[in-house]
């Protein structure tokens, strides 16, 4: 038992002492927290309009009040509450989009990397063709075809991003399938399916975790862009990109309407990227350094 426990302990210690992982995890946890608890902690209904209190500045500026700590937008809606609710949209697309993009991309990558030859050619060409459409353009076209709405946004993200999963994981699968332990598994007469699931897949999990965090950041950005062009969720659902689009009109009079959602996006994406970076550092290279000696 000593081996396993010590392993876990050392791993956990590595996670906790890496600055990037720490910061990124905090951001992620914050996002998860706000997306779950938004209805309970938001001071106002995000759609509640108050014509008497439009374009109020944040509380620390002249004219602001503690009722609306980050001010209000052009329709008198509370910015802070809208930000909190906006995190739900962000999290929804990030989690759902990433999950299903992976669900499509990873199995194809496993097949391509394991069987190689004709299978790989077919899948790789397919990915190449799919990638040749500019991603944002593709999303926009898809949205135009599918119509708007939260689930459609997630769908658009899935359809665009699965190729990234596929490409990156495929490369790693190639590396892994060149190792002797795969050949050893064949020598034991393990079926191909079992080899892929039990031998190959566990070895791509670290890379997959990193990829997931990066993808989540990308999903948030894509959603924001789509919101910005009005192709995302319905007007009644607050979303950060939408807030930016609306706030753009009032940037000189009420900069906070646009700036705060922008900051939310930036911090979220930055945090997720950092988490991915840190995880990559922690999960693989260090083990190898000590082995070398």
């Amino acid at each position: 038992m000593a081996g396993r426990k010590k392993e876990r302990f050392v791993q956990i210690k590595r996670f906790l002492t890496n600055g990037k992982v720490l910061f990124g995890s905090i951001v992620l946890l914050l996002l998860v927290f706000t997306s779950i608890t938004a209805p309970f902690i938001a001071p106002h209904d995000p759609n509640e309009q108050d014509i008497t209190a439009t374009k109020r500045p944040p509380f620390w500026m002249g004219g602001g009040d503690s009722n609306h700590i980050l001010g209000t937008d052009s329709l008198g809606r509370d910015v802070f509450s809208r930000l909190l609710y906006g995190s739900r949209v962000a999290m929804f697309v990030a989690v759902v989009g990433t999950f299903f993009a992976g669900l499509i991309g990873v199995p194809l990558a496993l097949l391509a990397g394991f069987y190689r030859g004709a299978v790989d050619n077919l899948i790789s060409r397919f990915v190449d063709i799919w990638i040749s459409f500019p991603p944002i353009l593709l999303s926009i076209v898809l949205m135009a075809v599918l119509g708007t709405g939260l689930t459609k946004v997630a769908l658009a993200i899935i359809l665009v991003d699965w190729t990234r999963f596929c490409r990156v994981i495929r490369g790693e699968v190639f590396n892994i399938t060149e190792k002797d332990f795969i050949l050893a598994a064949k020598a034991i007469a393990l079926s191909n399916l079992r080899i892929i699931v039990k031998e190959v897949f566990p070895n791509i999990v670290p890379l997959l975790i990193v990829l997931v965090t990066l993808e989540m950041g990308i999903a948030i950005i894509v959603e924001a862009i789509l919101s910005f062009v009005g192709l995302s969720v319905e007007a009644s659902i607050p979303a950060w990109g939408q807030m930016i689009a609306l706030g753009r009109l009032y940037i000189h009079q009420a900069w906070w309407i646009m700036v705060f959602p922008m900051m939310c996006i930036i911090i979220s994406v930055f945090g997720l990227n950092l988490l991915g970076d840190g995880l990559r550092e922690v999960l693989d290279p260090r083990l190898k350094v000590i082995e070398m000696k």
Binding site: G3, E7, E178, K179, D180, F181, I188, A189
Partner: protein, 334 residues
């Protein structure tokens, strides 16, 4: 009746190698790599056959082809007198219990994400040799002990072990299914000299205890001498010489074998070192010279060597050579 455990008959394994830029595989030059070319090999029961050769000679490919980890291009493989060349996947599965393989690189032969227990118990479970957790645990512990490791090592991961220990784990995995034939592909080449001896000792013990036959593939003649009963020397896909170990080392007949042996520096300051320096380099396996393809580098070449190829002939009891010198044609004849 012969007591061959394994026998190959005109076994060939060819690869097509693509050269040049191939963009949709158009306009690429395909060259044929004859990795294993018309090999007639046999291994007796309870015997260690050493398979030596330099890099690129095809010994590794031969090892894998014999146990059908690579599919032969043509020819036949016999195991316990049964033709296994075209056996289906079903048939192969039961065969796999009897023939196993150990690889060279202890760092890539074990799944880094699995514990030792998971790795060794896997073949047992796949072939239905154990039925419950405690039985599995006992069996794995037993195997670990056989290879000189401890029960407590079961729960550890590969990266916690040294190269030599990892090879032991690989050996434990290989003998888990009670095989009678083992292919050892450069199993000590990546280990330190002092550890090599440990692993060799282990293999000899296992061979005797478990009645194994071993195809011991190595580029290191010194190691091969110590462990093999018979030795086959390979060059560019063909066997140049095959003989009982002591015969081969005391009187090597093929010029390549002679050069190979003389080239090894002996760790002894008294004995002088006078290697037969071969001309040039080993040709690429896709561009083999005509006739006997060792002839461009051979220090005993004569006129027929570049015209006619020659296959293995039994010169004396159990001693096979593929060389014109021993074919009744001497340099003095025309």
């Amino acid at each position: 009746m012969n007591n061959y455990l394994v026998k190959t008959s005109n076994l060939k394994k060819y690869y097509s190698e693509e050269g040049g830029i191939s963009f949709f595989s158009l306009g690429s030059r395909k060259s044929l790599v004859r990795a294993v070319d018309n090999i007639n090999l046999f291994v007796h029961r309870n015997e260690v056959l050493g398979l030596v050769g330099e890099s690129g000679c095809g010994k590794s490919t031969l090892g894998k082809t014999i146990i059908r980890l690579e599919e032969p291009t043509s020819g036949k493989i016999f195991f316990e007198d049964q033709d296994i060349t075209n056996l289906s996947q079903e048939g192969l599965k039961s065969l796999r219990k009897k023939m196993q393989i150990i690889f060279q690189d202890p760092y890539s032969s074990l799944n880094p994400r699995k514990t030792v227990f998971e790795t060794i118990s896997q073949p047992l479970k796949v072939h239905g040799m154990v039925f419950n957790k405690s039985e599995t645990s006992d069996r794995v512990a037993d195997l670990l002990q056989k290879v000189g490791l401890e029960k407590s090592h079961m729960e550890r991961y590969p990266h916690q072990f040294s190269g030599g220990q990892r090879q032991r784990i690989c050996i434990a995995r290989a003998i888990a299914l009670d095989p009678i034939f083992l292919v050892a592909d450069e199993v000590v080449s990546a280990l330190d000299v002092s550890i090599q001896a440990q692993i060799l000792n282990l293999l000899v013990i296992l061979k005797n205890d478990l009645n194994l036959s071993i195809l011991f593939i190595s580029h290191d003649l010194s190691v091969v001498r110590q462990i093999s009963d018979r030795v086959a020397v390979m060059y560019l896909g063909k066997i140049m010489e095959m003989a009982p170990s002591e015969n081969l080392f005391s009187s090597p007949l093929h010029p390549y074998t002679q050069a190979l042996m003389s080239a090894i520096p002996v760790p002894d300051a008294e004995i002088g070192w006078h290697p037969i320096i071969l001309q040039g380099e080993t040709p690429s396996p896709s561009q083999r010279p005509k006739g006997c393809f060792f002839h461009p580098r051979c220090h005993k070449v004569f006129d027929i060597c570049d015209k006619e190829d020659i296959s293995l002939n039994e010169i004396s009891q159990g001693h096979f050579v593929a060389c014109h010198l021993y074919n009744g044609r001497s340099p003095l004849q025309k």
